[in-house]
Symmetry: C2
Amino acid sequence: MKQAIGIDIGGTKIAIGLVQEDGTLVHSTEIETPTKSRDAVLSAVVDQVKQHAHTASAIGIGSAGQIDVNQGIIRSGTDNITDWNNVPICEYIQQQTNLPTYVDNDVHTFLLAEKGAHKNVLALTLGTGIGGAAYIGGQLLSGEWGGASEFGHMSVNFNGEPCNCGGRGCVEQYASGIGIHKRYLKAGGEATHAGEIFSRALAGEKRATRIIDEAEQALSTAIVSLIHCYNPSHLILGGSVATKQQGFISSVMEQVSQRGMSSLVKPVTYHVSQKEYAGVIGAGLLAFEREGKA
Amino acid sequence: MKQAIGIDIGGTKIAIGLVQEDGTLVHSTEIETPTKSRDAVLSAVVDQVKQHAHTASAIGIGSAGQIDVNQGIIRSGTDNITDWNNVPICEYIQQQTNLPTYVDNDVHTFLLAEKGAHKNVLALTLGTGIGGAAYIGGQLLSGEWGGASEFGHMSVNFNGEPCNCGGRGCVEQYASGIGIHKRYLKAGGEATHAGEIFSRALAGEKRATRIIDEAEQALSTAIVSLIHCYNPSHLILGGSVATKQQGFISSVMEQVSQRGMSSLVKPVTYHVSQKEYAGVIGAGLLAFEREGKA
C-alpha cells in the first residue's frame, strides 16, 4: 500500500509519521519544536523526513494558522516560532527531499483523519481558540487561497465586543478556553485557566455557571448557523475543551438539536475525537487527497 | 451548441426558457403560476416543456424552498401553491418528457447564472426573506441532501428574539424586507412595506434610521462570518433590497471590508445582479452542471 509522510507542526512539538492510504499510522516520532528560528524548524523537519523518504511517495503538512494551500506557504503561523510567517515550506521541503509536498491548516488535516465515510462533515476544535474545517460533497473546502472555515470567527453577537480579528462578538470570545477565562476575570472572578471555571460551574458557583451557560448558548448558536450553511451529516469535535468537558459538549449538542431548522439540525450526528495521532494521520492523508487531484 | 430547458418556478410566475451551455438564453416564456393545486402546476410546466423538448438534452428547475437534490423532490416550497410540499417533481417531469431532469433551490441556480469565471463565490438574495448559495472549489455546494446555504438563518445575536426557523436572532429578522418592516412596526412606526422605511431613513427620520442602521450592522456581520467560513473571491447580491437600495448595499459592503480578518475580507469583490432572466438561465445551467457529473 502507498505511504505518505505526515507532519504536524505545532508551537511546542512536531510529530512526524508514515501513513498508509487507509489512514493506518505505520511509524511516528515526536520532536520538540526548535522555536528559535525558521531555519531551525525547517532543517529539523527535513532531518526527520529523510529517514522515511525512501518509502514514501509524498509529504503532507498540517500547521496552525493561515495557510496558502495553492502556493504552499504558511502565511501566518504560531507566534511560538520566531519568524514563522510567509514561510514557503512546500518549496523548501520539496527541494530537500524530491517528494511532492502539500500543506494545509491543521484543523483541515484533523478532519481528514476523523471523517470516516462521511461525505459532508464539519470539524470544530475547541481549545485555547476555536478552529474549523469543512468537507462537503466529498471535497475538503479551501476557498480562494486556503483561508476557509475560520469558524471561531463567526459572530454570534453583532453588538458584541471587538475581537482581535477585526470583528465583533465572535464565538471564540465566548466559548474558547481563552474566551471563557477572560470573561470570568472580567466578571470579577479569579482563576488561572478555563478548566477551573468549568469545575466551579459544576460545583454550583454562580459566576462560573453564568459564564459557562453563555458559552453553551454562544457555541450552540454558532453550530446551528454552521449546520444551516453546510447541511452536514456529521460533526467532529476536538481540542481540550471537547475532550475534557463532556457535560458541556452534551449540553451544547442538546441545544443544537432543539434550535434551528429541524430538517437540517435533527439528522446531524457527532463524535469527540479520541485519536491520539490525528494530526500526523490527517497530514499524511492530505498528501493522498492532493495527489489524487494533481 | 447543446441546449437545456430552464424552469424557474415562483409563487406568482413560472418562467421557462431554452438555455445554451454558455448561458445564452435562446427563448423564454412566462406564465402565471396556477396556484390552486400541485397537478395544475405540474401539467402547466409539462405543456410548456413539450414545446422545446425536441431541441433540449436535459431540464433544470429552480424552485424556492427546501429541495432534496438527490431525490429530485421539493420538500417544502412556496405557500402560494396549494399542496406544494414533498413534490417528486423530477420523476414526474422525466416521465412526461423522457429528458433527464434536475432541481435545486432557486438561489443556488441564480448563483450559476451570475458566477462568471469565479471558482469561489457566494450569492445572497435580499428580498422579503434572505436566501443563499455557495460555489466553492468549482462546485455548487448542496450538503447532505441539498439544504445547504440557508444564509438568512445565520444568527447574529444569540440572545435575539425567536425566529420561525427555531433559532434566535437570525440575520433575516434584521435585514430582510419582512424583518425590517416588523422591527419598524414594533418600534411604534407605521408603514406598509420596507421600501417606505428605507425612504424615511434617507429623509432623516430617527426611528427609520435606527432600524436601517441595525439592518446594516447585522447584515455586514453575517457577510463577514460567511467570508470567514468560505474564503470566497466574490459575492453576488440579488433580490429587491439589493437592486433598489444601492446606498444601503454600499454601506453594508463598506462595513464588511472594515470588519473581520483583512486577509479574507479585503480581497472580496461584489456585484448586484442586473440579469433579467437569471432564474431561467441558472436553471438551464444546473442541468449542464449535473449532466457533467452524472
